[in-house]
């Protein structure tokens, strides 16, 4: 057989992967290697594969993903900081046939928006919540978030987060297990924690996001909540590759991956 050339391989009929058509031509403004881009990509793939681009309405957060509406070729609304679940509630109740999802960071979902998160989850709104947890406020320059790890250095915890002083008096508080917390509420149907730092994790995460959308499409009641443990290499002050390693060594022991609740039943670990 004669030698196969690159030109033989690079032919339209041999194409096995390209980014979703539901992403616009706009370049992501995210830092090199930021997980926000990867999560956007797989959400777009899921919406494309489910054929629901005309039915989907996304809610963009305040945070680095504030301009998410520029990147997806689907309808979007911008929420005030932390209020995405409240906006999603209103839209879904007015338009029950639409597929409504929020996209939020940890500062948005677990700090300023804690009330909206807890109450939407407790009411069991029929929405999908995508929660990108990078343990820090990315957009504003790396301040401590509720999800910041113990000992983690941020702009506002320069010596590392210290939950309490030696004598037990309170200081920065403990990493907030918001995902475990919402799993306790009767209104959440599906709660899972995923990651996107390697190909296998991306594929698992995509399956979870797909399920979180399908449950809503099938009118199964309750909130579908997908946390993605992600990176913020800029504010963690490391390269993207190192941040992905650091994430596995430091974030995953505190935020282990896997399903936490399915069909309203807590999964025992």
């Amino acid at each position: 057989m004669s030698e196969i050339t690159l030109q033989d391989i690079i032919q339209p009929e041999n194409l096995v992967y390209e980014k979703s058509k539901l992403l616009t031509d706009k370049r992501f403004h995210y830092c090199p290697g930021c997980g926000h881009g990867t999560v956007h990509r797989i959400i777009a793939e899921v919406i494309e594969e489910l054929g629901i681009d005309e039915e989907t309405i996304g809610i963009a957060p305040v945070g680095c993903a504030v301009m998410a509406y520029d990147y997806f070729d689907v309808d979007f609304q911008e929420a005030a900081h932390g209020r995405a679940p409240a906006l999603a509630t209103g839209i879904k109740r007015v338009w029950p046939n639409k597929v409504v999802f929020t996209y939020q960071g940890d500062g948005d979902l677990a700090a300023i928006g804690t009330a909206e998160t807890i109450h939407a989850c407790n009411r069991g709104e029929n929405i999908t919540m995508i929660f990108v947890n990078n343990g820090i406020y990315g957009m504003t320059g790396g301040q401590m978030a509720p999800t910041t790890l113990e000992g983690m250095k941020t702009a506002t915890t320069p010596y590392g987060r210290k939950p309490q002083w030696e004598d037990g008096t309170p200081n920065n508080g403990f990493p907030l297990q918001i995902t475990k917390l919402v799993a306790q509420l009767p209104g959440t149907r599906f709660v899972t924690r995923q990651a996107v730092y390697d190909a296998a994790k991306v594929r698992n995460c995509k399956k979870a996001i797909k399920k979180a959308f399908q449950n809503q499409m099938e009118n199964k009641n309750g909130v579908n909540f997908v946390e993605i443990v992600s990176n913020c290499n800029s504010n963690w002050k490391m390269s993207a590759v190192d941040a992905n390693k650091w994430l596995q060594e430091n974030m995953l022991p505190v935020y282990p991956l896997g399903d936490i609740k399915d069909n309203f039943e807590l999964i025992n670990k």
Binding site: V16, E18, K19, S20, P32, G33, C34
Partner: protein, 74 residues
Amino acid sequence: MAKFRGAIVVDTDRCKGCGVCITACPLGVIELAKEVNSKGYNYSFMANPEKCIGCASCAVTCPDGVIKVYKKAL
């Protein structure tokens, strides 16, 4: 002998040189170029094209979705 040959096409001008695809590739196909693109990033390229099997691990982990993957059965 591999049953498949693959190839990637990187949109070099949109690549941010983060290197995530390099760690994702199980076969060491990708490296960063010494040259930079219009944004000043060292873009990724197939340094060892003969090793590519078209598994798409690089493309599914690329945050910016700038990699297209081709795969041909031999």
